[in-house]
Point group: D2
Chain length 490, copies 4
């Protein structure tokens, strides 16, 4: 077996990759029979948060066990021998959006270290904004980094902490990092779950029913993982809260008390979260429908059909259609058979303008004025192609409506965005964008419209209710590394 | 390399498999640069017709080249060396719904034989009803069967035909077989495409644009493959028609003239075909919407939301919602990350009632009277689970509406159906079905309603316009093997 | 899984391939618990007869089971699930020297067919000399060939035979083929083993001890397989003999009675067979030592050390050293870590004259007059390299002695030889060969010397005791295909 | 791709594993075109020093590149894309005797770290005797260990060193470790090679010829790697010497000056090194022959044949045969087709006493008094089996002669030995051993005989010329971890 046997230089390059990518999903289980299986099922439900790699660490009372691999959860954990090799009643798991290769398997989480106090594993969703600065001083001190992930900083900070018990060391580490994080961690005595003081990324607590062991809990990035795990929703973990689950049950610590306030990522509602998740008591699906309705109000246009760009545009399109009383139709069909590798086309074939991922449904488009609903515009390349396709299928007019404000700023809190110079909305105003994309008209929901869809009166510009830095450029957490030029732009 | 390295005894068994399965899709290209690539792209667009195996045969003017593998098209043909090993300007390809293993790779099409007149490859969508009888006499004659597919009968009939040229031999073979078939075949001189006299399975002709070579044609099971191949629609191939494409262009033969009439599979409109395909000038998507509208008329119920069972129930649900003026909502979310293998759950976990493929979206279901729209009921196990899930998500009433009449009879023309005794509608009437499934009410579209959705006034009981044997038991082609007990029931 | 996932265009090309290759080994077991395992162990012991592919067919009383794969026996059958999928108390197996790829897996034996009388599997060591002629008429008759092996002719001849029982059909087939064959075949009622009338290739019968079932037999290409299988030697199967093993025990038929005489391949003693095998009561190892002794007598030279080209030259070198009283030394070390694939060197590295397979042991060569012993010269490229290496290691003289007469003629009876024009001894006399190879002297054992080493007084030129066509060009079996130009020269 | 996809619980367990295992081989190249290829070829020649895993790190002037995998060098580096992904003119490589699995890939060397001064890679042959003690204090200090290898201690010691330049840090680390090591290391500016003060493990310096770049050097564990790399021997690296190769050429440092003396591992001559290697101006092959001659003198017995246990016993058997004037014969044949995985036999088959690795050559054994020559006795299980096999092949007497003194003590300097309690010579005297093994007589070469074979007059008991702790229990380097009970016995 060679570890770097997958070469993917051509992978996916033919497939349009003009999307934002959530970088991770996390799961924890304490305690259940078949904790590894249960964790895998939870990770499966969080597959949309990271499709490139997956890992699980378990503890069986004596030893930690780990399996990490590149691929979908269903691939990495399909072999029953893999699950058998992960015994124990407690587990944490991680999905990752990442690339392939040996050098990269190092980066697949959960990360694990043998500490003076025993083994410790961490899985992280988010991104630290002072990781490079911390890394510099850690390296100077003699710490060796084995991965190129920000997340490894946690591990080293815990390792060098002078506190004696695990929780104190963990909190000591938390206090030194800046950025967005939803963490699950596993020691031999406890499962820990933590959210950063602003609660940028989601994290929820659930309970396994009786029939499983009595003191059985799960944590997961989103509530949609609960039904996959047969668990019930308990509550969102709060911004700045640290949850400790051990044999005595669940305990909560607020190490940042006084300094926290919620600035949850508004884009989770727009695009990242699964529509059946409920975050902070708000249904993601309903939020998207309401954004669609706001959009219909704010950017009305006379048209014959409302067509979503599947799958992410569907709920907003349903909302738009209902509010505007224009029929909702599946005018674009999306193929779900495209995996991590695919046929690499020759130039000859590229020139045919072949479309692999989307196909138009001419029957509902031909001769029609089409309102096309998408969640966002990143580089604009997809939007341009889709508009062309819809026109080629006979649309007489194509009006593009976007269920978020223009994304003009990069995310530094856990979302993979292009460099700012590549964001279409950063380099062009709406009119120019419309021309470049080739639409007859282009409209975005307003910032206030988006906040209204989330049941706010409007955006509170003094204390914004959400992190909306990608729209506004108002970054609620310092961008230390960025400001010190410690990270390369893409 | 070992050929039977995939062991799949546990594959998919956890995943609900209560569906009908189309058994194949076919593609042919004459002539194009990168014919193999183009064929692979066409097969990708036909992936819904068979996801378990795929193969392509090309001819480069001197030699035939073949590659067949188990898996999705994108997996089987992802390695650029595979495509490089398939040179030539003409090609045929095949998708298959089939099982894994060495013994099974024999069954992956296209089938190929070295004949006296040279190489000949055949790819077949459909099923022969006298294959076993023919096979018996061929074996008695000394013919050796290398696969267990019905399709191999074609190859042997061609081999032993006393005619001298390829087309005469091919037609000689066609005249001996009974059943449903859409075929593409490749010799060194021509590409042949043929449909059985009743045209049970679809097959269309397309044209590659100039820029590619001038005399460049494609054939494919469905029109949805054309946009993937950059080709334009020309026409449906007619029931009983044989199309010959060679360096002189396209020619048509009707060897069964006088004995053909169209009995196209009505279930292709209901479920099998991709919604963006157009068959016999009728949009599949529009047909499904109309079925939904008929269903709303025939089986009205007061309700708060219309929820499709995704993905197949979506167009009918849109039609139902529009006709009934009840809001359409995505109340069920389907995971598209389930591949051919998956995590095998322990019993412990099965008992948690874990759902992998579908999840409910409680926000649009809770407290609502739900009309649930699905395309058909096979064994009923899925319907039962879905109804349970929807109730568990808080629905106050669950009314199940099915966009086809009750399926009471097995298909012998190319669809994988359970034995008749396992079809819920065969063993129970609608009331009993409703109770077993646990719905508050259950309704099917009527036979005439279905025909109306296809723009017929009603079913012509003397000369039915479609093959609807699965609903009516009226089999338009003799079931020779079945009647002679030459095939085992499942 | 894709079947042709191994691409080996570069495989081995760097590794000197200037050798003859035995094309197959066969094994049969009737009856034993774990017949598949036992067969695999027997095939392992015959690995030297074919290293590229391997297959086993078993019968369990109800069904035949087959597994075939590319690679060493230990690789193809390493997965315990493979063996589990081969249940049954009877089995046949085959090793093959062959190439890789999907098109080639068709050629991996045992070949199997579903006949009117049931399943039948055949494994063949040897080569037919009228296979193409037979194939032509079989194809004309409508038989479809699935492989490109000569061996498939057997299967079709059996299929079309008008006899009713298996043995009669089998013998009917044997009587139509010309060439060399040692066959094992399996039907649901019996295991059959057969050698061609001249017994060109080896085949022996063995018995499993009590403790296994009572009526338990094995057949194998060479006796060296017996200890791997825990079986005892019974006897050589005779030229022209057909052995039938069924529940009544072992029976023998001589269908060619009157027309057989032994012309066993003399090169099996020289090179192909494993040294610990005993063929026709003669130890292969002892035969090789005696050839070495003859060589010492016939081509004496004053020297300081006798160095074998390992591994095949070792026994002859031991014999030479003993007869000449010159010390035997391991002056060349052979790497056994070279598998089917290997690092492909850049041109840069090729120019370094890198040697992967052989290395010299300077300590025993430097300053010495070396007698180098090899089994044969094919193209001469290896001999040239080895002589250069030995000189580079400081030998003052290098005298090459070959333990067989000059090989001037291609083999048509089951050995992969280059075309005659590429055989160094065909295009050059010994003096020229010596110069080309760069040795100080070159000597071959004489034909009579070789026969003496096999306990004959000398070669009987009227009725040669062995097939020695590769040395003499006297082909004891008609070369029908070759004479009719039905096979391409290489 | 999943990383731990290989499960090898059954691997090799059927294959007798009663041998010592060298734990590593190392190679370094500075500078050459295709440095990675060249390194792979060198590792291939050192394959006998570690067959389970292999890795290479290169530096291309800008970046470090790494590929590590489980398997033979020829497998890990067969794919040309792997070599292409290792650009650069300098490289180090490592072979490892190790186990499989994801957790283990961490342990495959070269180890690599990103330090304050840049990247640094280390490959290590040997074993540290205070690694656990160092590790304890490093972990206490907050260092995180990513592998379970002793070698990682080097990396951390370098990381935390307060010296500023690479060499000073490296030497700082060397001065803190105890044990045996031959190291190669690579920074962006230099290749470093070092041997421990006693030079327990081998390491040599070679030079690439002109034609390659001028300042082109290689280092390797043994001289046998040089011909594979097209390089010339320069000299052994001295005990305690540190060699630095950079763009200015080769420099030498002796950081331990005054404290070094040679205690080279005598067992390298007996068994580990390849026979064509020359170590400290002594041919390994000639040394083994001389041991055989000493053995013939010290433990003479009347016999008919001398038979080596292949392959390691061959040179000593040649020496024994020459000295005793008893004929040397290949009475045991060894299969070279056994790889890392193999067929797992059923119990049924185990009881047949199947032999996979060795087979007897009855023709030279039957009726003979046999002197059997092996290099050493570990647990004795192999010896017992071999003696049984030789008797079963008809030997009238079997006299076992061992080309080393009794191995009574575990090695702590880089050789994988069983716990002392499992060493047959520790728990039994020679008479008992002889009985247990079932031989007619058993003899070992004496300690002085072994030293004589290495051109010493005798063992200097005050200052032994070699490390012979496995025979004498005199450990020349402190066993700190062992004495402090920091390592588990096996």
């Amino acid at each position: 077996m060679t570890v770097s046997s997958h070469f993917s230089s051509h992978d996916l390059e033919f497939i349009d990759d003009d999307e934002f990518h959530e970088e991770c999903g996390v799961v924890g289980v304490w305690t259940a029979q078949d904790a590894a299986s249960l964790t895998a099922l939870g990770l499966h439900a969080l597959q949309h948060r990271g499709q490139e790699a997956s890992g699980i660490v378990t503890y069986d009372g004596n030893n930690f066990h780990s399996h990490r691999g590149l691929g979908l959860v269903g691939e990495v954990f399909a072999d029953p021998r893999v699950i058998s090799a992960l015994p124990g009643g407690v587990a944490i798991g991680h999905n990752r959006y990442a690339t392939t290769g040996e050098t990269q398997i190092r980066n697949v989480q959960p990360l694990y270290g043998d500490f003076e106090f025993g083994g410790f594993a961490v899985a992280h969703n988010g991104n630290l904004t002072n990781a490079q600065l911390l890394k510099q001083s850690l390296v100077r001190r003699g710490c060796l980094f084995q991965s190129s992930t920000d997340s490894e900083v946690f591990i080293h900070l815990i390792a060098i902490s002078l506190y004696t018990n695990v929780i104190d060391r963990f909190i000591d580490a938390l206090k030194q990092v800046q950025g967005a994080y939803s963490l699950v961690a596993l020691s031999k005595d406890m499962l820990i779950a933590a959210r950063d003081p602003l609660g940028v990324r989601p994290l929820i607590l659930g309970k396994l029913p009786n029939g499983q062991e009595e003191n059985s809990w799960v944590v997961a990035s989103e509530s949609c993982a609960l039904s996959s795990m047969g668990a019930d929703f308990v509550r969102d973990i709060e911004p700045g809260e640290v949850i400790i689950i051990d044999n005595n049950g669940v305990r909560s610590i607020h190490p940042f008390s006084g300094h926290t306030s919620s600035r949850f990522c508004i884009f989770e509602y727009v695009y990242f979260a699964r529509p059946d998740s409920v975050i902070d008591n708000k249904s993601v699906y309903m939020a998207r429908k309401k954004i669609g309705a706001e959009l219909a109000k704010e950017c009305h246009v006379d048209a014959d059909v409302v067509v979503p760009v599947p799958d992410s545009g569907v709920p907003a399109a349903i909302g738009y259609a209902a509010a505007s009383n224009i029929p909702f139709e599946l005018g674009i069909i999306r193929s779900h058979y495209i995996g991590r590798t695919f046929i690499e086309p020759t130039d000859q074939i590229r020139h045919l303008g072949v479309k692999l991922k989307h196909a138009t449904n001419r029957a509902v488009i031909e001769g029609k004025r089409v309102v096309l609903i998408d969640d966002s515009i990143v580089r604009g390349t997809t939007s341009k192609k889709i508009v062309e396709m819809v026109r080629a299928a006979g649309a007489t007019e194509v009006h593009l409506r976007i269920a978020s404000p223009p994304t003009k700023h990069s995310c530094f809190y856990g979302i993979d965005t292009p460099a700012q110079e590549k964001l279409l909305a950063y380099i062009h105003d709406t009119n120019e964008m419309c021309k470049l994309i080739g639409a007859d008209s282009l409209g975005f929901v307003s910032s206030d419209g988006l906040y209204r869809a989330l049941d706010e009166e409007k955006r509170d510009n003094q204390n914004p209710q959400y992190c909306d830095a990608c729209f506004t450029g108002e970054y609620p957490i310092s961008l230390t590394d960025h400001d010190m030029n410690l990270i390369k732009s893409k």
